[in-house]
Symmetry: C2
Amino acid sequence: MEELKDNKEFFKEHGIKNTKQRNIIFEVLKQANTPLTAEQIFLKVKKVDKSISLSTIYRVLNTFISKEIAVKLTIVEDNTSMFELNRIDHEHYLVCMGCNKTVDIGHCPLGVYENSLEETTNFDIVGHKFEIYGYCPECKNKERLTKN
Amino acid sequence: MEELKDNKEFFKEHGIKNTKQRNIIFEVLKQANTPLTAEQIFLKVKKVDKSISLSTIYRVLNTFISKEIAVKLTIVEDNTSMFELNRIDHEHYLVCMGCNKTVDIGHCPLGVYENSLEETTNFDIVGHKFEIYGYCPECKNKERLTKN
DNA sequence: GTTAGTGCAAAATCTTTGCATATTT
DNA sequence: AAATATGCAAAGATTTTGCACTAAC
C-alpha cells in the first residue's frame, strides 16, 4: 500500500485529513484518463467502498477543488459537471455531442496566453476551461441522416 | 418596429415561428454584452412581458441553441448555465471568481486551431467553450486577506 | 385548420446542507 | 479530547416535461 502512504503525505501537505473515502476518490481520479461525472465517480468508488454516499463524493470533490487538487468542467449539452485532477501539464478535450466520446487534443497551448493576460488585465489567473465540441466520424453520419 | 420585421425574417430563415416571446428574448440577448443566466433573461423579459414563464425561457433558449442562434456556456464555480448569441466573430471571457465580473479577452484565436483539428480528428466541429478564471485586481486583495 | 409554441404545475436532475455519528489527528 | 469528515435524509436549485390552451402559419 505504498500509494496510500504517498496520499497521506499529499493530503497533509494540502492541510486536509487522510480519510479512506478521499483516498479512494483520489485513486479513481488518478486512474481516469478523462473527466468523470460525480455519478461515475460514485459508481467506481462504490466498488471499493459499498457504503459511501453521494454527498461525500460531492463534498470531497469540493474540498479537492478548493485545495486545487482537482478541477471542475462542464461538457456541453447537458448540465452535469465533470471532475478531473488538476494536472499542471494538462490536456483538453474534443467532445462528441452525439455519443459523448472525448478525445485528447494534445498539450495545452494556453499557458503563455495566460501569462500575457495576467499582465494586461492585472487578474490573478487561476485556471481555464477549454473544450471543443462537435460530432465524431461515426456520429457525423448518423446526424446527417436524422437531419434530412 | 423595424427590428421586429428583421427578426421575423431571421426566424423564418431558421425554420421557426415568429413569436412575441422569441422576439423579446432575442432582443434581450442582442442587447446583452455578456452571457446571461436563464434567470437573468427571465427577469429582463418579464419587464416587457409580465406573463412569460421560465419554462418558455428555457424552451426558447434550447430552440435557439439547436438552431445555432445562441450558445450555452458555464461559468466556473457554480452550476448555472449562461447563454449568449452565437456570434461568428465572438469573444471569450475572463471571469472573476470573487465577484463574477467578466472581462472580454479580445477576438477569439481558436478558429484556425479548429480547422486543423477537424483535419486531424475527422470530427465535425460545431463550436468550443473557452473561459479563463481567476481573481480581479479588487478581489485579489480580499482573497489574500481571507486566506491568511 | 394544422402545426408549433406557451403557461402552468409537477417532475426530474443535480448538488448542497443539517444533524447525529464516526474517524482522524 | 478536539477538530473534521461522513452518511443519511431532506431541502435547494436548475432544468425539463405533460397537458390544456393559444397563437402563428
